[in-house]
């Protein structure tokens, strides 16, 4: 491990991707993540990698489709409206089972919205976004250090399951600076071997086929069933979450990403007032840690979901709690980040 360095969020994710062995980046400028695109344009030539600025997000995502088909680690980064434009390609990539890492530095929506941080793309990230029965592994980091670690993890998981993964950050994480410890550079020769499926020259072997299509509906159904088997394995193996002071907690605050980090302060403030609060912070937003959260439903009296949206993850919290306890919600949106005081005031109202 190297020493800690002070970096901007977008650049931290870019450097983490390079250290994880990503040598192909395709992107398009959009606030608040353009610095990641710029960083890759400077950095990729230094590591003998490829940086390519597309003419649109639609082009960028389909460049990923082409590049990932060769079996190399590839990524793009964008922000909400850009990720919306990419959805056709995301669906194709999921259907063709290509290991691609996406980064969405979420900003306020819907429509044009603004360029301030938000968590209002949760549904799009975790429930689809594009067409068809598909899933992306979705990570919601709370800090730049965690973003760096999850970026490396996203590449590994994407490779392991031949499935796209998504880092769901927000404008806050993208624009802030923090000390970060980067991992060592991944030795490229240790990256997973994709020669069994990738397009790397068919001379002397049967041709490979990368597709999300079959004209025979029964074959297409079989393909979908195979995806589902894979998703089941991901659900079994890849759930991540953090619990903070939940051991004796009566009230469980559920929050992820930037909001999850703020919620730790809220837990401590509540405890100073004598309220036994704890935090459940999902790190994988898909697969969602339903069972771990459900366990807390036996002990806690109240679940309180806080989001930088009008209430999206709260639906998963309700699914997990399954009617056993009350699930309350508080959210700000449009780029507003709730302060610990306002959330605490709301919490005190509830109890």
């Amino acid at each position: 491990m190297a020493e800690k360095v002070m970096v901007k969020g977008t650049e931290a994710i870019g450097e983490a991707a390079i250290r994880a062995g990503c040598r192909l980046y395709f992107g398009y400028p959009i606030t608040p993540q353009s610095e990641l695109t710029e960083y890759m344009s400077r950095r990729m030539p230094q590591v003998d990698g490829v940086f390519l600025q597309a003419e649109s997000e639609v082009a960028a995502v389909n460049m990923l489709y082409g590049a990932a088909s060769t079996g190399h680690r590839v990524m793009t980064s964008t922000s909400s409206p850009g990720y919306s434009l990419m959805q056709e390609g995301v669906s194709y990539i999921a259907g063709a089972e290509l290991p691609v890492v996406f980064v969405n530095v979420v900003r306020g929506g819907p429509g044009l919205g603004d360029i301030q941080p938000a968590q209002s793309d949760y549904f799009q990230a975790t429930k689809g976004g594009g067409h068809g029965d598909y899933r992306l592994v979705v990570y919601g980091p709370e800090s730049l250090q965690e973003a760096v670690e999850l970026t490396a993890k996203a590449f590994d998981v994407a490779d392991k399951y031949r499935n796209p993964a998504l880092i769901l950050a927000d404008g806050m994480l993208g624009q802030m600076m923090e000390p970060v410890e980067f991992p060592e550079f991944r030795d490229l020769s240790t990256l997973p071997d994709h020669s069994s499926w990738a397009m790397q020259g068919a001379k002397g072997r049967e041709p490979h086929k990368i597709t999300s299509f079959d004209i025979n509906e029964y074959v297409l159904e079989q393909m979908n069933l195979r995806y589902q088997e894979k998703y089941k394995k991901i659900i079994e193996n890849e759930q991540m979450w953090e619990e903070y002071k939940t051991d004796d907690a009566d009230i469980i605050i559920v929050a992820y990403g930037t909001m999850g980090r703020i919620a730790k302060t809220i837990v401590n403030m509540a405890r100073e007032k004598g309220v036994k609060a704890g935090l459940f912070r999902p790190i994988t937003l898909w697969p969602y840690p339903y069972e771990a959260l459900a366990k807390l439903a036996d002990q806690a009296k109240l679940f309180f979901t806080v989001e930088m949206s009008m209430g999206q993850m709260v639906e998963d919290v309700k699914l997990a709690v399954n009617g056993k306890k009350t699930v309350e919600f508080y959210g700000r949106t449009g780029g507003v980040v709730p302060t610990p005081n306002e959330v605490l005031a709301k919490l005190m109202e509830l109890i």
């Binding site: 400028p29 353009s34 710029e38 030539p45 940086f51 003419e55 409206p81």
Partner: protein, 324 residues
């Protein structure tokens, strides 16, 4: 009758400006000149302009809610969509008019504004579609040769040798290597279209083209060279001075393609070398320190010379040969 100065002065004195002050574009930005001149010309001709804008500096800085600098009906849509959005508005207008359901008989004209990112790159598809379908609208591109709204990333319009954040000048490369797309010829190659270049150094040439574009029944397109003083690294006062030099060095020839007929609208008597243009703009400074800078200049000189000769020949060859 063409627009004249007197008409415009009267308009400025007596009427609401279609595009007014109070916007938040940078001091010295050339984009508001383009918007102001175009919409005032439309007004002076007795038209009621309806404006569409693509995402970009002009849109962001003129409509910071709850404020707006637009005194005319205005619609914004995302980066790639202005030509499609204005198509929709124009189609609805035409349909209502044809069915006699329009409550006004004012002559409405549709004007779309887009920057170079939204025109050369992500918006090219919708622009081509709108021109091909033949909507009656005028598309005005304010070309500042980069994604300036997001911080100077390269676009399909950025010239070679320019230092852009996604194509920086370094030890190996002299910044961007590709030449600009010839957007006017791309649009001019469509059917029944009026396409032209213009420059902020020559408002009268621009306004005459706006007039032609508005009067043309069908799609019209004007690409205006409009520097971003911030990322071109030039003094705030120098935008039009620089674009004048662009015309005089053949970097940005002023011409039009009217339904296939080429016409050069300004022919400078003496040309200046392209190096003078390049040296006057700060964003080429790094490339000029590069060991290979002479090659960049030579290549540019050869390119603009050849293009000028080619334009002259096109002008000669297409004389009177209107495709429609």
């Amino acid at each position: 009758m063409p627009v004249n100065m007197k008409q415009l002065i009267n308009l400025v004195a007596k009427e609401d400006w279609p595009f007014t002050q109070g916007h938040r574009l940078c001091p010295g930005c050339n984009a508001p000149m383009v918007a102001k001149w175009a919409t005032m010309t439309a007004k002076a001709l007795g038209y009621e302009p309806v404006v569409g804008a693509a995402t970009g500096c002009l849109e962001v800085s003129t409509t910071i809610y709850p404020f707006t600098a637009w005194n005319v009906p205005y619609i914004h849509n995302a980066f790639e969509n202005v030509a499609a959005t204005i198509s929709g508005a124009e189609a609805a207008y035409r349909s209502l008019k044809n069915r006699g359901k329009l409550k006004t008989d004012k002559p409405i004209k549709f004007i779309a504004f887009g920057g170079d990112g939204g025109t050369y790159d992500i918006g090219l598809q919708s622009l081509s579609g709108a021109v091909e379908r033949g909507h009656d609208f005028l598309y005005i591109l304010y070309d500042n040769e980069g994604y300036m709204n997001t911080g100077n990333q390269r676009s399909g319009s950025t010239p070679p040798g320019a230092d852009a954040t996604t194509e920086p000048v370094g030890k190996v490369k002299t910044g961007k290597v590709q030449f600009k797309k010839n957007i006017v010829e791309i649009i001019g190659a469509h059917e029944n279209v009026y396409a032209a270049t213009a420059s902020t150094s020559d408002p009268f040439d621009f306004m005459a083209k706006v007039e032609k574009g508005l009067k043309h029944e069908g799609p019209a397109f004007i690409a205006v060279l409009a520097p971003c003083v911030r990322f071109w690294r030039i003094p705030e006062s120098d935008g039009p001075k620089i674009t004048k030099l662009a015309v005089e060095t053949k970097y940005w020839p002023l011409y039009e393609i009217d339904r296939g007929v080429y016409k050069i609208t300004r022919k400078p008597r003496n040309f200046k070398p392209i190096e003078e243009y390049i040296r006057s703009i700060g964003r080429f400074r790094k490339a000029l320190q590069h060991p290979e800078y002479k090659e960049v200049i030579e290549e540019m000189q050869k390119y603009v010379d050849t293009r000028w000769e080619r334009l002259l020949k096109f002008e000669e060859a297409t004389k009177g040969m209107y495709l429609r």
